[in-house]
Symmetry: C2
Subunit: 134 residues, 2 copies
Amino acid sequence: MQLRMTNQREMILRELKKSKGHLSADELYERVKKFMPRISLATVYRNLEILSDARMIRKLEISGRQKRYDSVLVDHDHIYCVECHRIENLELGTSDVKLPVGEAKGYTITGRRLEVTGLCPVCQKKITKSKKIK
Amino acid sequence: MQLRMTNQREMILRELKKSKGHLSADELYERVKKFMPRISLATVYRNLEILSDARMIRKLEISGRQKRYDSVLVDHDHIYCVECHRIENLELGTSDVKLPVGEAKGYTITGRRLEVTGLCPVCQKKITKSKKIK
DNA sequence: TTCTCTGCAAATAATTTGCACCCAT
DNA sequence: ATGGGTGCAAATTATTTGCAGAGAA
């Protein structure tokens, strides 16, 4: 299967890189629609799938929520806010993970996914504020 | 809000404990239906939510797939098979994780989720078999 | 009796798919 | 020109919700 670089695909890739964030399919759709009003959400989904299969982007499957996509390819973990659901990258240096290499429980290990959950600085402030009001 | 122990709730809890696995809502529904044919899937979902809020069971949100539920309450991580999607518990001893305690990136940390992905023994055999046939 | 819980059906949310036309190669 | 890609609408999958009646406390 040959990949073709269509305008839609190029635009999706460009907007994802531009954002530097972790966008969901519909957030990306909203952004791309500003330049290509006739693009469909299905096209966005299809391209995100194809691009992540081709290892050009990364699909994040975090916590049972919507999938999000990341243009940063290097390995890293994530931290996400239980309150506002924002996701940020977490550098390996910050945490310190040693995992079984090769085998565990008879499994051949192919990877790992590590999410740290917490309250982001913004939401911490919001919560302390609302407590004061009470 | 007072919790009532209805027959449905009791049965859901019993079947989840009996299975010792990581069941999805509809798998549990199928099992419970054998004893209570008129139970509805909505009741299963509502009870799983209530029971996990009450910390009587655990909700697992793994890898963008269906949610699964576990009656084992003690902290542990999971390993899951990328081929057949089975999930197994992973004891802390097997892996070795050191995470930032308290703070990282300005976040107040509340928890972590660690999934190791791999090929389970059964799927490994299947794959080597199918290669031989080729 | 009271108020949570239940079954049913309909609603929602995220994502996928069938189809006929389009366009990058 | 050819076969992958697109837009649209409809289908799927997982989950949630409104409502009227049922039943645990």
